[in-house]
């Protein structure tokens, strides 16, 4: 008997297939090999001899090789390629901490991978911001050695923050972790694809970080043509890096949207779908529409640079690039902030133990913001338009504040006469509401053409969009991290410390960006490492607050990390929330629920004690 089993195992698990190298390390090695092969292949077919071994075209092809090598190295070879060709997958997901450092099919592992990668990107791009603010403490160049170096820092900061943090943390990060739990699913629809999707993110971020190696690029995160086609080779890594990061977002959105549509638990009707899931669904649709659009635009811009095609320079139409960029660019800011709106109305009812006010309006608001967001883009290019063309875009830009306001209405209605528990997540959500209203109202100025023509391209605009993105989305991210920490780790943070740290970033943030409005009105334009000396005092003060803010984010990160590892054990459902993720243990088991979930009523009623859902436990396996 025993002998037979031994034989069978020997045949199914051939020894040589056991991996000895860590997947990430193997990914790096294979990426290097892939780059070398594809790059040299390109050089070999170059009809002109004597060029350097790495040129703009060859680096593009080489990068594709490196990406293939990287994705295969981190587990794609065993997990995807072998099954594709009919061999059994030999990929074994480790049970210990190693599972976070390789291809995974578990949405919770993938969600944490995204959160950690994205936090690292937030740190790097944040340090970049600190360097920018240090430079701006003086009116002349004193830190960066060349203006192009400063402009590259600005572009890397913006691109990483938008495509590696803003678009990622609430969707691919918290969305991947919590959406399946909140709808009672045990797995996602495209688990393996989703696992591959994560590894595109560090590849894209590293590409962008490496862009100065190919030469300082000047365009900022928008890559305006025709400047981009004139710029050094760093531009190439801007296109490629963003291509990889947006592809990661498309995959995450496809997987989450499909999971929400097809993998809901019994009884989880559309009318009962939690707010955050609605947020992720609307945002996933936005991603599926607009991320491919910007990818195609970047492919065109890249070809324009390499070939060149003259799509977007003086022989073509520079304005076409601008429209194509903002056609994606404005939905992008709603991609970042819609899940935040949804989270406010997820967290407030729990903390108030009060019915969610006007739930249908809150959802209609999300859906209408999603639809209107594609109709407002041209307010970014009013300075390029004829007066008559501004009318409709001005109209829609003003109108989009109406559905945005529905989220505020639901939040205020829920807060009113509540018994609101004053916790760290409560405080941070209220701060996010406060910040976002400043970001939103200053947007009304920008929607008005005569005002826009004065404040466009100044620090007024920088302050405005940092208020929406940091003030709205990043504050909500921090709130959600505290709110879900007991679920993620089974441990609790220190509430008093959490509130002080929230106050820290609130003061740092408002000190930094409220003064930037004044800078913009006083004639400080964007993309300048050197500026007229009369602007120095205000800039100096902005920088001091910015350093304070940066330290505050690090302090929050340390606190969350400490609580995750060493915090006191948390009760199973510390906030007395009703949504499904709290029905299971913390952290949840591999297949999320130890049984079958059945939803029997909505999650936002606190006027009765009846449970919203039941977990029918699996029978104990017979010995």
């Amino acid at each position: 008997m025993e002998q037979q089993i031994t034989q069978a195992e020997a045949r199914n698990n051939p020894q040589p297939k056991v991996m000895h190298m860590a997947p990430v390390l193997r990914g790096l090695v294979w990426a290097t090999i892939g780059f070398a092969i594809f790059d040299l292949m390109t050089v070999a077919v170059d009809p002109f001899r004597g060029r350097p071994l790495v040129t703009e075209p060859s680096v593009v092809v080489g990068w594709v090789g490196a990406l293939i090598g990287w994705l295969m190295g981190v587990g794609g070879y065993e997990g995807v390629i072998l099954p594709l060709f009919g061999s059994p997958s030999t990929w074994v997901e480790p049970k210990n901490w190693r599972k976070y450092f390789g291809l995974s099919t578990n949405h919770k592992v993938i969600g944490l991978q995204y959160l950690v990668t994205s936090s690292s990107i937030f740190f790097i791009a944040g340090m970049d911001a600190m360097a920018i603010r240090y430079e701006l403490m003086q009116p002349s160049m004193h830190f960066f050695t060349y203006t192009g170096q400063y402009l590259t820092a600005v572009g890397v900061h913006g691109s990483l923050m938008m495509f590696g943090v803003g678009t990622v943390v609430l969707i691919s990060g918290l969305g991947n972790y919590f959406v399946p739990l909140m709808i009672g699913a045990k797995e996602t629809v495209f688990s393996r694809l989703s696992g591959i999707g994560h590894w595109l993110l560090p590849a894209g971020a590293l590409t962008l970080i490496a862009s100065p190696l190919l030469g300082y690029w000047d365009t900022g995160w928008r890559g305006y043509e025709p400047l981009a086609s004139q710029d050094p080779g760093g531009m190439v890594f801007y296109y490629l890096g963003i291509f990889a990061m947006t592809l990661s977002t498309i995959i995450a959105s496809l997987n989450l949207a499909a999971t929400i549509i097809f993998h809901r638990a019994r009884g989880m009707t559309w009318a009962r779908l939690p707010l955050f899931v609605w947020g992720i669904l609307t945002v996933s649709l936005l991603n599926l529409i607009w991320q491919p659009e910007i990818e195609m635009t970047f492919v065109m811009a890249l070809l324009d640079k390499l070939i060149p095609f003259h799509f977007f320079d003086a022989l073509g139409s520079p304005l076409t690039y601008l429209s194509m960029f903002w056609l994606f660019g404005h939905p992008e800011v709603y991609i970042i902030v819609l899940p935040a709106f949804a989270l406010w109305n997820e967290i407030i009812p729990v903390m108030a133990q009060k019915n969610l006010f006007a739930r249908d309006w809150a959802i209609i608001g999300l859906i209408f913001v999603m639809m209107l967001s594609g109709l407002v883009w041209a307010h970014h290019i009013f300075t390029n338009m004829r007066n008559s063309e501004m009318f409709p875009f001005s109209f829609f830009s003003e109108m989009i504040s109406i559905p945005t306001g529905f989220s505020f209405m639901a939040a205020i209605g829920t807060l009113w006469r509540a018994r609101l528990r004053f916790t760290t997540p409560t405080l941070l959500v209220l701060m996010a509401i406060f910040n976002f209203v400043i970001g939103g109202l200053t947007g009304v100025y920008l929607a008005d053409p005569p005002v826009n023509l004065q404040v466009h391209d100044t620090f007024f605009v920088i302050a405005h969009f940092h208020y929406t993105i940091i003030g709205g989305a990043i504050f909500t991210w921090v709130a959600a991290m505290y709110y879900w920490l007991p679920k993620l780790s089974g441990r609790m943070f220190n509430d008093t410390l959490g509130k002080w740290l929230a106050l820290w970033i609130f003061i740092g943030f408002n000190g930094t960006f409220s003064q930037m409005f004044l800078l913009g009105l006083d004639g400080m334009n964007r993309w300048v490492p050197a500026y007229p000396p009369y602007l120095k005092p205000l800039n100096y003060s902005v920088s001091l607050f910015a350093f304070f803010l940066g330290a505050g984010f690090i302090a929050n990160a340390i606190h969350i990390w400490w609580a995750w590892v060493k915090g006191p054990k948390s009760p199973e459902n510390p906030w007395h929330a009703r949504t499904l993720e709290w029905l299971t243990t913390s952290p949840p088991p591999d297949d999320n629920f130890d049984g079958e979930v059945e939803v029997v009523r909505g999650f936002y009623r606190y006027d009765h004690d009846e449970p919203s859902a039941y977990l029918v436990k699996n029978p104990e396996p017979a010995e």
Partner: protein, 272 residues
């Protein structure tokens, strides 16, 4: 009801204080504005500020009010006593007001001001404005006065400068190309022609000629206010921060004298 009354009084009081403080500052919302176009933008900015102030104070006050007035005495998970999910009056007012306000903003200032801009520009076009050809290249602003046959206005050191007579309409023709490298299709990039004190900027696009009208209404120059300068506002390469030029708004007599001086300089340099 008590909460609504207290909140209403606080809101009205804070809004009144806010509006009063703003009234004392509103003339300087843009720090320094000296053109008719700038006044238009400034009045729109101030109008919006006055109307957005109560909205901002409302939301900000709600967040603070909720923390103070609706705060639970302890963190025990007890349900709130009030469990309203609907309040027709509140929803109706909120949605109705947000529609009304947005439609108002679109009519005034947006539509009214754009209409005023059109009308001003048409009127100024008919008044035989001073024409200034502005050429943006990497990285220089060049000013040409075709009515006075001044091909490139410069100071004694040969640096570009622009002078404008006060209260006379100006028509700027904006072009982006490099007159010294006309064969290079990559040389032209997008710049943005901005004089902060004039309250308007317009992008300068390679391959297109754009116009902009305005009337400078005060005698001023870079030394009286640093906002009186031409500044490139759209990133155009590593030289972008340094792409600026001094501007002087002068009296008609001074302008005539300056034009004579420019013509003399040009003749001395052997130009046409």
């Amino acid at each position: 009801m008590g909460n609504i009354v207290v909140f209403g009084i606080l809101w009205a009081g804070l809004t009144a204080v806010g509006e009063w403080v703003f009234r004392t500052h509103r003339a300087h919302s843009f720090y320094y504005t000296i053109s008719n176009q700038g006044s238009l933008a400034l009045s729109a900015f101030n109008f919006l500020s006055s109307w957005l102030m109560p909205i901002f104070i409302f939301i900000a006050l709600v967040t603070i009010f909720a923390l103070v007035r609706f705060r639970a005495p302890n963190n025990e998970p007890k349900p709130s006593e009030v469990q309203a999910m609907r309040n027709r009056a509140f929803i109706f007012t909120w949605v109705g007001l947000s529609f009304a306000l947005n439609i108002m903003f679109w009519l005034h200032p947006t539509s009214v001001d754009l209409e005023a801009m059109f009308t001003n520009w048409r009127k100024e076009k008919a008044q035989h404005p001073l024409i200034v050809n502005v050429t943006a290249r990497q990285w220089e602003w060049m000013f040409n006065y075709p009515q006075y046959h001044v091909t490139q206005a410069v100071n004694a050191q040969g640096l570009d400068e622009m002078e404008l007579p006060v209260n006379r309409p100006v028509e700027f023709f904006l072009r982006s190309y490099d007159p010294f490298h006309t064969y290079d299709v990559y040389a032209g990039v997008i710049h943005s022609f901005w004089i902060p004190a004039f309250g308007i900027k317009e992008d300068v696009i390679p391959g297109e000629t754009r116009t902009e009208f305005l009337i400078p209404e005060h005698v001023a120059n870079y030394h009286t206010s640093p906002l009186v300068r031409v500044q490139c506002a759209e990133v155009c390469g590593p030289g972008h921060p340094y792409m600026e030029s001094p501007v002087s708004v002068v009296t008609a007599a001074q302008f005539a004298k300056w034009i004579k001086y420019e013509q003399k300089l040009q003749a001395a340099a052997g130009g046409s």
